[in-house]
């Protein structure tokens, strides 16, 4: 995984609550067996109508937001299905930071596996950021969002911060504890399936 670097970008405001992963990446795209190329299907049913014509009133279709790397959305972002395809689609589209007042658990943890930074902030601050039209900077190391008018501090678990900043591969980390896993297996009382 590539290490997370500071992001400077305008925000894409998606002012909706309970955005579920079915909306982020609809089911017809879950049949692919690779991880790449999901960006073009991001929010597919909101971006295109039944005949696959562009819906001009949807924010991602406004060229003003082309190249934006920061998505700001309402409460309970990423709820519903566990599909990691949602994170792959956001990442492939170009987003590297998602800001909301709260995230669903599985989505939140999927973000860190793919180098995306989900930031949760008080709803008052999220509402302000939804109105922000200037370029802002997200500095993970110092846990600060810099807007022209203020510096906003955000919280992140130190372990998760390290994973993002160093781009660590989870599995090789775990393999350092292989003897502990074997030890556990010796005393486990749950028998194997077969």
């Amino acid at each position: 995984m590539k290490p997370f670097e500071n992001v400077k970008s305008i925000v894409t405001p998606l002012d909706k609550v309970n955005i579920d992963t079915d909306q982020i990446i609809p089911k017809q795209f879950l049949k692919l067996v690779q991880k790449s190329g999901f960006g073009k299907f991001l929010f597919f049913n909101w971006r295109y109508d039944e005949n696959e014509n562009i819906k001009s009133d949807f924010i991602l279709n406004d060229s003003k937001y082309d190249g934006s790397q920061i998505l700001v959305a309402g409460d309970n972002f990423g709820c519903g299905s566990s599909r990691e395809h949602a994170v792959w689609a956001l990442d492939d589209y170009g987003f590297s930071v998602i800001i909301s007042s709260s995230f669903a658990d599985i989505f939140f943890s999927n973000c860190f596996k793919n180098g995306l930074l989900p930031i949760s902030l008080e709803s008052k601050i999220v509402e302000k950021l939804l109105q922000e039209t200037n370029v802002i900077e997200v500095d993970l190391n110092n846990q600060i969002i810099k807007t022209p008018s203020e510096n906003i501090h955000f919280e992140i678990n130190s372990h998760k911060k390290k994973i993002l900043l160093e781009g660590l591969d989870d599995i090789s980390q775990t393999f350092q504890f292989e003897d502990k896993i074997s030890e556990f297996e010796k005393k486990s009382t749950i028998p194997s399936v077969l």
């Binding site: 079915d22 049949k31 049913n45 299905s81 372990h159 009382t189 749950i190």
Partner: protein, 471 residues
């Protein structure tokens, strides 16, 4: 201070514990399906890794499979590739697969318990959010993403932050057990706590209203924990649990000695404390119907659809959400639920396609016909459920009433196979998600119990099943 059931299972599965960071938790059972696993197996191949414990891993195909004649080739090429990919991966990595022709094939959360793979006190994961279903057996069962699927395949462990504990207590016993079902209980709970109410927690369902339920019904409750935002749902195992798992195909040989140890250990101590509690009285629960685009947007069958103001209780974001939902659903506040006409009926999914669900629905249907304006289908949760139902003659009851009787799979719960709603179609569905487009782009989903779905099929609109004679 005593411990909760969740805390006991968690502590007995810690492999590595560190301050201020996640614990490394051992996983006893890993269930795999075709949609969320291909990229995980690819990751293993790229890094030259193997599956650490193929003997703790079981695969089936459910999301994508056609529910029509299985002797025919799969027409959708991308689905066919995904199914073939799972076959190849299971072969390459030595994983037991119940494929499309296996008598054990079915929705992963239906077959786990049915085969005795799900066990009390164990940790179970699957790349699917409704893994919470298995919590009905007192297992800690978590939905995970594909990266975590890869991690479990490689190491049989996961780094997990310890969730908080949430007690949901349902007091009292149901009076009308046929009309007020487990589905109505869980929809009522979600309506009250909200779709993010359980975020960061594991819910333990307690109280007489829960222990009174059969195992099939308890699974319906735990299944929808994720719709209340929870990481998992749990019910302490009891005699019903132990009986259910006895003599299943994969029940462990030393089962009785395991039962003895579970009896002593797998319960919340009387002096344990939960981080939060929600209490509901069963007498306050009526048959439920969802009217919006998330499972929290639900009301009683004899109520009118609430206005966005009533629904949101002053929260402007929720109000906007409700307005948008009514627009998508083409409904107006004030409309009585019983006046909503439907086009389709789907009885299926890991929430409500077990034998008992089909039995209850068939009681409504028996000797009646689906009204001419409605298309209705039954998709059993597994091939085993299908067979058991056929042995009881339920298939005939459904077919005579003009229901389609299908092969097992996820089907129109998410419409990845050809079973989908057309734009604008309105469906009474026993599944778990009424998100926009979930059952087909532009489709409108109302979540209900199997009994409510069956009654809607006959009448062409929702009816209060409490008024029907169901015995």
């Amino acid at each position: 201070m005593g411990k909760t059931l969740f805390e006991k299972i968690w502590e007995s599965h810690i492999v590595v514990e560190k301050q201020n960071s996640p614990d490394l938790i051992y996983i006893d059972r890993h269930l795999v399906h075709e949609v969320t696993s291909p990229q995980a197996f690819d990751g293993l191949r790229m890094n030259n890794r193997k599956v650490r414990r193929p003997d703790l891993t079981i695969a089936t195909m459910d999301h994508n499979v056609p529910t029509s004649d299985r002797s025919l080739p799969i027409l959708d090429q991308t689905s066919a590739v995904q199914i073939k990919t799972l076959e190849n991966n299971c072969k390459d990595f030595g994983i037991k697969l119940f494929d499309i022709n296996s008598p054990n094939q079915g929705i992963v959360h239906v077959i786990g318990p049915q085969l005795g793979i799900t066990l009390p006190g164990s940790t179970i994961v699957c790349g699917d959010s409704h893994t919470s279903t298995h919590g009905a057996f007192g297992a800690l069962a978590l939905g995970i993403g594909t990266s975590e699927v890869e991690h479990v395949l490689a190491s049989q462990t996961l780094w997990l932050e310890k969730p908080k504990t949430f007690e949901v207590r349902v007091e009292g016993k149901r009076k009308n057990t046929h009309a007020v079902t487990a589905k109505d209980i869980i929809l009522s709970i979600i309506k009250n706590i909200g779709t993010a109410g359980g975020t960061g927690t594991v819910i333990e369902y307690r109280g007489e209203g829960i222990t009174d339920l059969s195992m099939d019904q308890r699974m319906t409750i735990c299944n929808m924990s994720i719709e209340g935002g929870a990481r998992a749902g749990l019910i302490a195992p009891d005699e019903k649990t132990f009986d259910y798992l006895r003599n299943r195909e994969y029940t462990p040989k030393n089962y009785e000695s395991l039962v003895d140890s579970w009896k002593d250990n797998l319960k919340t101590d009387s002096d344990a404390k939960f981080d939060k509690t929600f209490i509901l009285n069963i007498d306050d629960i009526a048959p439920q119907v969802s009217w919006g685009t998330n499972p929290g947007m639900t009301c009683d069958v004899d109520e009118p659809i609430p206005s966005p103001d009533e629904f949101s209780n002053g929260d402007s974001n929720q109000k906007k959400g409700a307005e948008k939902a009514l627009e998508y659903m083409a409904l107006e506040s004030g409309t009585m639920i019983e006046d909503i006409k439907i086009d389709r009926v789907f009885i299926g999914s890991c929430t409500n396609a077990r034998l008992e669900d089909l039995i209850e629905a068939s009681k409504i249907i028996k000797g009646q016909k689906v009204t001419s304006t409605v298309d209705a289908m039954v998709v059993p949760g597994s091939q085993m459920v299908k067979k058991q139902a056929e042995e009881m003659g339920l298939d005939k009851i459904f077919i005579e009433a003009n229901f389609e009787w299908r092969e097992a799979g996820c089907s129109m719960c998410l419409g990845m196979n050809p079973d989908i709603l057309s734009p604008g179609e309105r469906c009474a569905s026993t599944s778990n998600r009424n998100f926009e487009g979930r059952q087909g782009n532009g489709g409108r989903t109302h979540l209900v119990s199997p009994v409510m779905a069956a009654a809607a099929a006959i009448h062409g609109h929702f009816v209060d099943v409490r008024k029907l004679d169901l015995n």
